[in-house]
């Protein structure tokens, strides 16, 4: 093995771009490892761990770019470096030619785009709060995609935001549809009269997509970040956003999706809801629906149900799940179930959560890297034993790598691994469409499945749910057919897929 490297001082690229290029180049023949990144402590540690560190890297700073490739021989490694450079350059030139240099700061960007009213922040967490504060001080709403923002910073930002009636969506907020425009990881959803507030990104994607497929539409989908309803933050954004939706003439139905709020937040939240003269649907993931119903609000049982209840209130009709329980049971009956374990490979955290809650009571022993109450913590997240429901978007899989909704690499590898495990009877996974997501996740998954089946010969049942709409850029139908051609049973919602798995596993 030969290691070649190239250092570009004072050259900055965002980590997602670099990680994607790194993982693409790693796939080339003869290349064993590729580290393409800014010289952050983390990347330096990675280089050391991979035995790719060289003494002349001492003194490099997070503002220096390093391209380090381990290959079978020098020519291959050098070709790898050249490929990385080519890809980096093609990115740079995208703005190219005689175009004005892109601004390097928010202030400069604001100067060039007068009237900007939203700032979408996905810079490293340690810098995110500063940018958010600047945005709020200049009167702009903030979507904070960045994670690693402390709860103290969050409180400060949300206090500032609520004093100015500006949205602070996040931190760690992946999904929002504001004034009809999907931001970051969001689907192309029809406009309508359902306004949503959610402390869960994929939860919001699942509910809004389902609403669209059921024929209804949304006014706003506001992400507030997973900690908004914690004791410390006190639901500041949730309350501000619901208040505004209550006033918004375009909104008739309000939906709230969140983990159960802190006890101290629940009371003021319900008090707030009671002032609203519109219908309110609440889904507290994993909480007893009674606490909601007792207060006189509509409680949803799961994400799909939240969408159905909202649509019923919106259009007055009687909406049904896209796939009925009977259909799911019949479909399960058609499959000869090989005895074995369940393996679920999720890219969406809330979907993983939802699956565990449904299946654990039935299967008994279920392990996860993000276990909900009753589930077991996986001893080794990289190796499945027994029934496993895994969130591949969780921190332990995404350190130094892009999220599995963008980068299918690890999930493909894991798919191969699960297919090679003789104890496996059924594999479930999600395909999340929409802006931000991979352009062809179904294609990537199908390729991984074909590779895995070729080498193992065993054929467990494969099931997928597609979170998306027919208006999403990936093409809903095209994604669906690819999966079906590869023998994957495709479901419109996660809950439908989970029920299918339940039927299959109960019959064994």
């Amino acid at each position: 093995m030969v290691v070649c490297h190239l250092v570009k001082k004072q050259t900055y690229f965002d980590s997602v771009t670099l990680m994607l290029i790194g993982s693409q180049v790693k796939k080339l023949d003869g290349i064993k490892n590729a580290v393409v990144g800014m010289c952050t402590d983390y990347n330096i540690d990675s280089l050391k761990r991979l035995d790719m560190y060289r003494p002349d890297f001492d003194g490099l700073t997070p503002n220096d770019l390093i391209i380090c490739i381990m290959g079978n021989d020098k020519t291959t490694a050098e070709a790898g470096i050249a490929e990385v450079e080519k890809r980096l350059n093609s990115r740079k030139q995208a703005g190219g030619g005689n175009a004005e240099l892109p601004p390097s700061t928010q202030e400069e960007a604001a100067r060039r785009l007068p009237g900007a009213n939203v700032v979408l922040i996905s810079v490293p967490g340690e810098y995110a709060a500063r940018e958010a504060e600047l945005a709020l001080n200049q009167g702009r709403h903030v979507m904070l995609f960045s994670d690693n923002v402390s709860i103290e910073e969050e409180l400060k930002l949300k206090t500032l935001g609520s004093s100015k009636e500006l949205l602070v969506m996040g931190p760690d907020c992946g999904t929002a549809i504001i004034n009809g425009t999907p931001l970051a990881f969001s689907n192309a959803v029809r406009r309508g009269d359902i306004g949503l507030v959610a402390a869960s990104g994929t939860g919001l994607q699942e509910v809004t997509s389902t609403i669209h497929r059921l024929g209804c539409g949304i006014s706003q989908a506001i992400g507030v970040g997973g900690r908004d309803l914690s004791e410390k933050i006190g639901g500041r954004m949730t309350i501000m956003a619901t208040r505004a939706l209550a006033e918004d003439p375009a909104t008739r139905v309000i939906v709230l999706i969140s983990k159960p709020p802190a006890a101290s937040v629940l009371k003021p939240l319900f008090a707030e809801f009671k002032n609203i003269k519109k219908s309110v649907v609440v889904y507290f993931i994993g909480a007893d629906p009674k606490i909601i119903e007792e207060q006189g609000f509509v409680a949803a049982r799961n994400l799909e149900d939240a969408a159905i209840q909202a649509c019923n209130l919106s259009s007055g009709g009687k909406h049904k799940p896209e796939m009925s329980d009977a259909e799911i049971a019949t479909l399960a009956g058609k499959h000869k179930v090989p005895a074995g374990n369940l393996r679920s490979l999720y890219s969406g955290g809330t979907l993983c959560d939802e699956a565990q809650r449904v299946l654990q009571p039935i299967l008994g022993e279920v392990s996860s890297n993000t276990p909900v109450k009753g589930c077991l913590e996986m001893a080794d997240v990289y190796k499945s034993t027994g029934h496993c429901i895994i969130d591949l978007g969780d921190d332990n899989f995404t350190r130094g790598k892009a999220h599995p909704m963008i980068d299918p690499d690890y999930r493909s590898e894991r798919m191969h691994q699960e297919l090679s495990d003789a104890s496996v009877g059924i594999i479930c996974f999600d395909v999340v469409l929409g802006y931000g997501s991979h352009p062809d996740m179904a294609g990537e998954m199908v390729a991984a499945i074909r590779r895995g089946q070729k080498s193992s010969g065993k054929k467990p049942i494969l099931a997928a749910c597609i979170c998306g709409t027919t208006d999403d850029p990936q093409g809903y139908q095209q994604q669906k057919s690819q999966l079906e051609e590869a023998g994957v049973v495709v479901f419109p919602t996660n809950v439908a897929m989970v029920k299918f798995a339940q039927h299959c596993l109960e019959r064994k």
Binding site: N63, L101, S104, T105, E108
Partner: protein, 416 residues
């Protein structure tokens, strides 16, 4: 302290914008440069001792001492310099500037530039041309002879001509040169031509012998960079107007002595912030290699400090091969400089950027925060005395200069 940095910088910038540098005349350094004396040798860049001087600066000091009659031979000059028998001081501390080694002694004729707005003056020697010249550290007889001719003939002829010519406003001349493809640091062809146009009739009107007048005109004609020694003190006069505005974070000096790079900041009176000078990356003339290059040298970065030179690279497409090869590279250099400057020149406009004003007023806070360094394009001196220019290219000041200045600024002003 109740200082609003924005206001302080606006004040500094408006002083720069309001400056009206004109050519006041020519005289010997001893007669006009404040604090000049027979034993004083002025040089480019921040203060430096003989021991630390690089090849070209040492050579120029030797040449200057022989020219001035302070030493009879190079060996004697070296001995005297090492023994502290002559004094050294930066040109910048005597209201002047010098290209490359920048050496000036008492008898040399100097341009006098006056800022009509505040009445203050700046100075610079007359440009000697290319090849074996003092500013690159050459001190052979040929060099001394030329300097003597400049003292005896060139200076007096031009001085007389200036008295007969209409007043020459340097800001207007630089503005015109920018529109004719100069950035007045690495390209001075247009500026030199314009200057000859201004001076030629007056030179003819002087009463000097015809042969002298012809030689003076031929000398001007043979040297594309003659204008540099005027664009530099003009830039200096403009920046001097911003010295020393309390609380301002605008850079008023960037200068190199061949060993160290130094900057000064409007709100930090008289203080130099220095760090080792970098090697210029660029295009070398045939036969030279990177190991021949001296570290960055000269006061000519005063042009960049004033928004010219590398900051106005977009105005000089003819020399883009020095800076990466394409016109859009040159334009991007200029665009980038808007990010670290507080204003745009009201006088110096860049034609192919829709006549946008040159980026002016380098703010150390912006340099530090954005981690973008000023872009200087400059000539490269051979590291050995007297070889001359070996190429031209790009260089940045060391970040440490700006970081140290920031630290000093915080110490001086921030009481929180």
């Amino acid at each position: 302290m109740l200082i609003d940095i924005q206001e302080a910088n606006a004040k500094a910038l408006s002083a720069i914008q309001a400056a009206q540098p004109v050519i006041k005349g020519i005289d010997t350094a001893l007669a006009v440069v404040p604090g000049m004396n027979k034993n004083l040798i002025l040089h480019a860049g921040p203060p430096i001792t003989w021991e630390k001087m690089s090849g070209p600066l040492k050579g120029a000091v030797i040449g200057g001492m022989i020219y001035e009659g302070l030493a009879a031979s190079p060996a004697e000059a070296e001995k005297m310099a090492a023994a502290g028998k002559v004094q050294f001081a930066p040109w910048h501390e005597h209201d002047g500037v010098g290209p490359m080694a920048g050496v000036a002694t008492a008898s040399m004729p100097v341009w006098i530039i006056e800022n009509k707005t505040n009445g203050r003056r700046t100075f610079c020697t007359l440009n000697e041309g290319l090849g074996k010249v003092l500013r690159y550290g050459a001190f052979s007889q040929e060099v001394i002879d030329r300097l003597k001719w400049m003292e005896a003939t060139l200076g007096p002829v031009l001085k007389a001509a200036l008295e007969l010519a209409p007043e020459i406003n340097m800001k207007n001349l630089i503005a015109q040169a920018l529109q004719m493809g100069d950035e007045v640091h690495n390209r001075n062809k247009a500026g030199t031509s314009l200057l000859i146009r201004e001076l030629a009739p007056a030179i003819l009107k002087t009463t000097f012998p015809q042969a002298d007048k012809v030689r003076v005109l031929e000398f001007l004609h043979s040297n594309d960079h003659f204008f540099l020694n005027l664009s530099m003190p003009a830039a200096k006069a403009m920046l001097q107007a911003a010295e020393w505005v309390e609380g301002s974070t605008i850079v008023t000096t960037m200068a190199r002595n061949g060993t160290e790079f130094g900057i000064r900041v409007a709100g930090l009176k008289d203080r130099w912030f220095t760090a080792p000078a970098a090697i210029v990356k660029g295009l070398l003339f045939p036969g030279f290699e990177e190991k021949d290059c001296n570290p960055d040298i000269g006061d000519s970065a005063i042009t960049e400090t004033c928004g010219l030179g590398g900051f106005s690279m977009a105005a000089a497409p003819a020399i883009v091969k020095f800076v990466g090869g394409t016109v859009s590279d040159a334009m991007n250099f200029t665009r980038k400089m808007y990010e670290i400057t507080d204003g745009e020149s009201q006088s110096f406009q860049i034609p192919n950027m829709d006549f946008r004003g040159a980026p002016t007023g380098i703010n150390i806070l912006k340099v530090c925060e954005k981690n973008i360094l000023p872009q200087i394009n400059t000539g490269i001196a051979h590291k050995d005395a007297g070889v001359g220019q070996v190429g031209a290219g790009l260089v940045n000041p060391p970040m440490k200069c700006f970081e140290d200045a920031l630290e000093a600024y915080v110490e001086k002003y921030c009481q929180n």
